[in-house]
């Protein structure tokens, strides 16, 4: 295609047709300011911060949604344009609760940065912030509308990426706000608590419910034995919070930090990820042999579980009954580990560090406890871990690396890849193949199941059987598969579904920003952890073998049933009631 020549601030540039002014300007080293624009989302044109002057036009044009035309002369840096942008920003600031110092996003806020970059010297308009209550109705997500700048990113991710539609814009004009229908609390609508809205929010209008204080309190309680587990996707991401390169692996530093602040034991969710593979793999084989419900769906992603409970309760039988690795871990600590250490379960506090906001609610599910105590007591996200690091004043970057404690800290590379989309499937195949055939798997890298694509599938010969598998991430992609299952057209044995785009490395509790290009680097790091592992198949994990020998006896056995498996709830009714 012929290129189009335009002039930006006196500099000639040739770009393909359909290029926006924003993109064209970036080619001339000019970064036009944006606010509602997000690289992974549709162009919205809402905020009007990216306005530029075009010769011959009366008003300004929004650079994000105006495509270039041959001969266009664009000015991005005149007094008129700078003052206009300041005016637009002032209009936004007047309706924004600017209590930056106590804001969750202080230091990592796009509005704050923009105010600085556009040289806002005075907020000269009257403050018109509506005093609206903060929605703290649930265990995962808090919404503070006084901070909302109505960019619409959260609406897009909730409706178009996740297909959940828990929030939308209500009312119009200056009464317009983003909220659940009838301005109910998030707990009253079918929100899955994935937290993807948090990851795209440019300001502090949506954030995780913070539980760090509970952790600090537990650590200083002399009567408590406090153990911690870290999810696979935390170790490749936390470094971003401390200026390290995206994809830095900081496992040893996290372990070292957690020991320094007083955890009695620092364990690894990867241990129970390996265990999940053994239980879930056996469940799959059992279903195949005994004519059980197929395709079997993975069950480790709690946002996904809520989604199917809300929207496809008729397919709950397809879900694996395995608890998620987080919950298996908690259940084992309060049984196997407690017995081993001679501790009372009620004296143990289990803390999880997760990439996920839905995990906070998962830990509070009614069926997730034994006797009177929950499997997992406190869940914090990667972002909250970063806060604890800062509060402690310990310099994470300078810490020596340390190893996890045994036995619940031992794991294989198969567990590590749980953190990326396709990982659970890959780990399961590595084990299922060898369990079924008795042969060693030569090529253990299932590369066609990797990567950020929303949907992947493969057929793997396992003995006499060709096992058809599919992998989806992002709930809208999950929906496509669920509809296929409903229509009887899903010719798969096993399907892995991750709620968040990219898998757990893109979880709602991860450092912000989390664009696709950042997620790709995080995924690379996940497979790096796998490659660096001594053992790369779950069934080779010696601690898991020992666990079965000493305690569980056999996969899918009586103890497993009691501790490691669960059941699901039809929430569609609740969903309807609350919506009507």
């Amino acid at each position: 295609m012929d290129k189009i020549s335009i002039i930006i601030d006196g500099k000639k540039v040739s770009v393909p047709p359909d290029t926006t002014i924003l993109e064209a300007a970036r080619k001339t080293q000019i970064n036009i300011p944006t606010l509602c624009y997000h690289p992974d989302q549709n162009v919205k044109g809402n905020c009007r911060v990216c306005i530029v002057e075009i010769a011959g036009a009366n008003g300004f044009a929004a650079a994000c949604c105006t495509t270039v035309k041959e001969g266009m002369e664009i000015k991005t840096n005149t007094i008129r344009i700078r003052e206009a942008r300041q005016m637009v920003l002032n209009l936004i600031l007047a309706n924004h609760n600017s209590q930056c110092l106590s804001c969750k996003r202080n230091g990592n806020c796009e509005l704050q940065t923009l105010s600085q970059e556009l040289n806002i010297e005075e907020e000269f308009l009257d403050k018109v912030v509506d005093l609206l209550p903060i929605d703290q109705s649930n265990f995962s997500i808090v919404r503070d509308q006084t901070k909302c700048i109505k960019c619409g990113r959260c609406i897009e991710v909730c409706n178009d990426v996740q297909g959940v539609g828990a929030i939308y814009n209500v009312n119009r004009s200056c009464d317009m706000k983003i909220a659940p229908a009838y301005e109910k609390g998030l707990s009253e609508v079918p929100c899955v608590y994935c937290g993807q809205c948090i990851n795209v929010c440019p300001v502090g209008a949506i954030y995780e419910k913070e539980d760090t204080k509970e952790v600090w309190r537990a650590l200083e309680d002399p009567n408590k034995h406090v153990v911690v587990q870290i999810a696979p996707a935390v170790r490749v991401v936390l470094g971003e919070e401390f200026g390290m390169e995206t994809g830095s692996i900081v496992t040893g530093k996290i372990v070292s930090f957690l020991k320094r602040i007083g955890f009695d034991k620092v364990f690894d969710t990867n241990f129970t990820a390996d265990l999940t593979i053994i239980e879930e793999g056996n469940e799959l084989l059992h279903r195949i042999k005994s004519g059980g419900k197929l395709p079997m769906l993975t069950s480790c992603s709690p946002g996904w579980i809520r989604y199917i409970e809300f929207f496809y309760p008729e397919l709950l039988q397809h879900l694996s009954t395995c608890k998620s690795p987080q919950q298996m871990f908690g259940a084992l600590v309060k049984s196997y580990y407690a017995e081993k250490m001679g501790l009372k379960p009620e004296d143990i506090v289990v803390v999880s560090i997760m990439p996920c906001t839905a995990k906070k609610t998962e830990a509070k599910r009614e069926e997730m406890h034994l006797n009177d105590y929950y499997d997992v007591d406190i869940v914090i996200t990667t972002r909250e871990l970063a806060k604890m690091v800062r509060e402690s004043r310990i310099q994470l970057r300078e810490l020596e690396e340390e190893d996890f404690d045994v036995p619940l800290g031992l794991s294989t590379g198969a567990a590590a890849v749980f953190g990326a989309t396709g990982g659970v499937m890959e780990a399961a195949l590595r084990t299922v193949y060898e369990v079924v055939t008795g042969d060693e798997l030569d090529k253990i890298d299932f590369k066609n199941l990797r990567g950020i694509a929303g949907f992947k599938e493969a057929t793997i010969p396992v003995g006499d059987l060709d096992v058809n598998v599919a992998v989806a991430n992002g709930l809208k992609n999950a929906k496509i598969l669920l509809d296929l299952i409903k229509e009887g057209k899903a010719n798969y044995h096993f399907i892995e579904i991750m709620c968040c785009p990219g898998g757990c490395i893109g979880g709602g509790g991860q450092p912000i920003p989390a664009t696709n290009s950042i997620k790709e680097k995080r995924i690379e790091a996940i497979y790096q952890v796998d490659l660096q592992s001594e053992l790369r198949k779950s069934h080779q994990n010696p601690a898991i073998k020992e666990l079965y020998e000493e305690f569980l006896i056999e996969p899918l056995g009586e103890k497993s049933h009691k501790l490691l498996h669960t059941h699901y709830i039809d929430r569609s009714k609740n969903n309807k009631d609350k919506r009507d």
Partner: protein, 431 residues
């Protein structure tokens, strides 16, 4: 006064197909279907130099050509009958006076651009019009004017009536399209423009009621006849809705070229109680406010453009000297504050800050700074808003600031010469 596009209004029974036909109804459609190719129809409209009557005055033939040039199999024509501009009620006269004429215009447009489906989007506050159109469409279906192979020709067309819940923004064509699609009415950014990508993502022609009502006449009588009416740059006639402090209020058809003074003093009989004129607002609430000295301006798109004003929908609000400029501005801005869809920053946030500044002025605590705030916000709204609503909302504000600066100054000094504002604050030197 002229009688062209509205000549059948009030003369025939609106739902009598027989009477409509006896007065030349459907001659335009028949001529188009039997004797003209779609391109010839477009050429005829282009030749007539008809410009859109909804407010933007875009050349109608050019717009049709854009839609016709799109290769898509599926195209739509839409009649914008969401007459929501305050002070505008001229489309209602056509909708309820001669629905068949509007439908005929829509049908000819569909034939010309290659559409098989049309929508008439009538504002919810016109229940009578909605009812009439539903009935008119049923009659035409029965008589073979709508449906498959109309008049035995290779042209099939169907029309659906849609209506909004009363949002002003739905008169903006992209918001109107959103509303037809079942979404809440908020504007899309342009480009893409509806002729390329409109309803359901397909090429879509959106025309105003009055524009469409002109079509059958142009086609049946020929562009040449139409060109005899009006001025060099503005052909034909215009329906105007006159309201306010004027003796004769109502809808009038006038030929382009008539002066505003003639409209107000000759046609409408001057101001009520022989009061002094303060200003007229042309084009509805989003139109410019013109002081007496601009009254000799001729109704002509190009003449108006020279003064940077638009004819808009053809509404004229006449205001006498008992009106306080700030009070008027507040009412107007309050309207736009209510009607903004809330999508873009400037339109969503701008109006309420203008109102706050006005309030300070009318309650006696206003300063020069408030005047500057009003001007700055109105300017950013005009220059940076996403759609026509936000761009036009500040037009009255800016025109009032330009022509009545003294009255703002007066309020800053703590005085309202019309006696409308009652200074509750710390009025400075009262009087």
């Amino acid at each position: 006064m002229k009688s062209f596009v509205s000549k059948l209004c009030g003369k025939i029974m609106p739902l009598s197909l027989k009477e409509y036909r006896e007065h030349g109804g459907f001659l335009g459609l028949e001529k188009a279907l039997f004797y003209m190719s779609p391109q010839e129809v477009i050429d005829e409209i282009k030749e007539s130099r008809l410009r859109g009557r909804g407010g933007a005055s875009f050349p109608t033939g050019v717009k049709w050509q854009l839609v016709a040039a799109e290769g898509d199999e599926e195209k739509y024509v839409v009649c914008n009958a969401d007459e929501g501009e305050p002070g505008t009620f001229k489309d209602k006269a056509l909708l309820e006076g001669c629905p068949f004429q509007v439908i005929e215009g829509l049908m000819i447009s569909a034939y010309a651009v290659g559409a098989y489906k049309g929508y008439i989007y009538i504002r919810g506050e016109y229940p009578n019009s909605i009812d009439l159109f539903k009935k008119a469409i049923n009659i035409l279906k029965k008589e073979g004017y709508l449906g498959e192979n109309i008049l035995g020709q290779n042209f099939s067309f169907d029309i659906e009536v849609r209506s909004g819940a009363g949002a002003y923004v739905c008169g903006e064509e992209t918001a109107l399209i959103e509303s037809i699609e079942g979404n809440s009415g908020s504007s899309r950014f342009k480009p893409p423009y509806p002729p390329n990508c409109g309803l359901w993502g397909k090429p879509t022609l959106v025309n105003n009621v009055e524009t469409l009502a002109n079509i059958p006449l142009i086609i049946s009588q020929g562009a040449e006849e139409f060109l005899k009416l009006g001025t060099k740059g503005s052909k034909g006639t215009k329906l105007i809705s006159v309201s306010g402090n004027v003796v004769n209020k109502g809808v009038f058809e006038v030929e382009f070229g008539i002066s505003l003074r003639e409209i107000i003093y000759d046609i409408c009989g001057g101001l009520e109680g022989n009061k002094k004129l303060k200003f007229i607002q042309v084009g509805g609430s989003s139109g410019a406010c013109l002081p007496e000295l601009l009254l000799d301006l001729e109704l002509d798109f190009d003449e108006f453009k020279k003064h940077n004003i638009g004819i808009g929908s053809g509404a004229i609000l006449v205001v006498d000297d008992s009106c306080c400029i700030l009070d008027f501005m507040r009412v107007t801005t309050e309207f736009f504050k209510h009607e903004s869809c809330g999508k873009c920053t400037t339109c969503r946030e701008g109006n309420r800050h203008i109102i706050k500044a006005i309030d300070r002025m009318i309650y006696g605590s206003g300063t020069e700074r408030d005047m500057q705030i009003i001007k700055d916000i109105a300017t950013i709204m005009r220059d940076s808003s996403l759609c026509g609503l936000g761009q036009a909302a500040p037009i009255p504000v800016l025109s009032l600031l330009k022509h009545f600066k003294d009255e703002f100054q007066e309020h800053i000094n703590g005085y309202c010469s019309t006696g409308v504002c009652n200074f509750k604050g710390e009025g400075k030197s009262h009087g």
